[in-house]
């Protein structure tokens, strides 16, 4: 009798352990711009550990690659990931979710929008910023503007080379969108609250900060 009880108990424990071990997990792969300081990178990792149940966290400081797994049943969304990266003070460059059922969701910084090559013009705009994180933010804001074909910001010269479809958009509108992302562009000043919400290393009005 006792043997039967113990056997049943052991089988039950084994069953539960197996069930837990086989819990379906979604995989997350994110690339973040601006990592490089261990305090920052470990901070990003720490913020994601707020997601209870997170597993297999891997972070490559040099490349900005960040991976983890999370229980499928919790249905962690792309928006939640992007918000958490921003909460830690960074800009997501790309993000991919591989769901346990095989589904894939991807977030990419747009490289090109629908533009008419005959109408493309290139202009150089002065945009304030400091670092690689600023670069990612500035270029993302420009490329997210409909009609922009190319945007490359130089950390050293603070100049943005932007190619755009002049029939769709003006340089003033592009500058406005960049300012709304926190960076003074052309003669348009970023809203104070947006500027103050930038990571501290992006405070381009702080004379102590040097380009990095």
């Amino acid at each position: 009798m006792m043997k039967k009880i113990i056997s049943s108990l052991l089988i039950s424990i084994l069953f539960i352990l197996t069930a837990v071990a086989q819990k379906p997990m979604d995989k997350f792969e994110i690339q973040v711009d601006g990592l490089g300081c261990p305090f920052c990178a470990y901070g990003l990792e720490k913020k994601f550990k707020e997601f209870k149940g997170i597993k297999q966290v891997q972070i490559e400081i040099q490349t900005g690659d960040f991976k983890f797994e999370y229980p499928s049943e919790k249905q962690l969304t792309m928006d939640a990931i992007v918000n958490q990266v921003k909460k830690a003070g960074y800009t997501p460059k790309t993000a991919k979710i591989i769901r346990s059922n095989g589904g894939v969701e991807a977030l990419e910084v747009p490289l090109k929008s629908n533009t008419d090559s005959d109408q493309l013009v290139t202009e150089i705009v002065n945009v304030k910023g400091n670092c690689q994180m600023c670069k990612a933010r500035i270029e993302s804001a420009a490329l997210a503007t409909k009609g922009v074909d190319k945007a490359i910001w130089d950390v050293e010269t603070k100049m943005l080379e932007v190619a755009f479809d002049r029939k769709q958009i003006s340089v003033k509108k592009i500058a406005k969108n960049i300012a709304l992302a926190g960076h003074d562009a052309a003669k348009i000043t970023a809203p104070k609250e947006v500027y103050e919400a930038l990571p501290v290393c992006c405070y381009y009005n702080n004379p102590n900060l040097k380009t990095h």
């Binding site: 490089g36 300081c37 261990p38 305090f39 470990y42 901070g43 990792e45 720490k46 550990k49 400081i61 501290v200 290393c201 702080n206 102590n208 900060l209 040097k210 990095h212």
Partner: protein, 267 residues
Amino acid sequence: MIRIISCFLLSIVFVACSKTQKDWQLKKEIKLDDVYPIGLAVLNDQLWLSDGDNNRLVQINEDGKIEKELVDFERPMHIGLSKNTLLIPEYGRDTISTYTGGKKGFLRDIPKLDAPAGVFTLGKEVAIADFYTNTVHFFNGSIWLKIGGKGTAEGKFNYPTDVHLSTGFIFVADAYNHRVQVFDKSGRFVKVLGQNLGINAATGIYVADKELFITDFENSRVFVVSLENELIQEITQAIEKPTDMLIYNEQLYVVNYKSGIVSVYER
């Protein structure tokens, strides 16, 4: 006339000698293998490094070879020393771990932490730099004092990453305010150091008798300044993303996170 010239020459020689004595010169670089050092300490004449990326502490020899390894930490940062005990702030675990005579433990009865980045002891005094709460916790031998809070004003911090105690003062690496702040032992703000150097992320500090050493992480420099904030030397040779330093056997050891090199200087 000869006397005047002699005095003049002697003065030049004296000044030149003084200058030479002040400058730290690179003696050697100790290349590490897959170690990304953040903090360092000397325990029983052995050099220990915290390796944050690999969640471990390593004890290395003069050639950089790992002789001992302690694992299972969560992002160990600026390690400290108390007699024969290594103190290890675990950034990812919100604890101060200890290592004494081969045994691991925890520092007990400490304030609640959120990403401790540095720890330092002097006698019965303990100081902890707590990154996310923008606070330095200081135990004066009987009670814990709380110093700081988030901000850019004097006495406030923007992510403190390291702390050092001298007999009279508490020195704090106020990393993203790009400066070092000094407090007295009652927690009162005393002064700012290094704010004029163009530092970008003052991540580590070391205080000697008359000098303060500051790492300028993003610009890959180490500054040596007097306690009156006069610049003594800017070290750039063999420096790549430095995080911490100490003086041992009259040599300056600087750990470089990015290159994985311990740079050793002498005067």
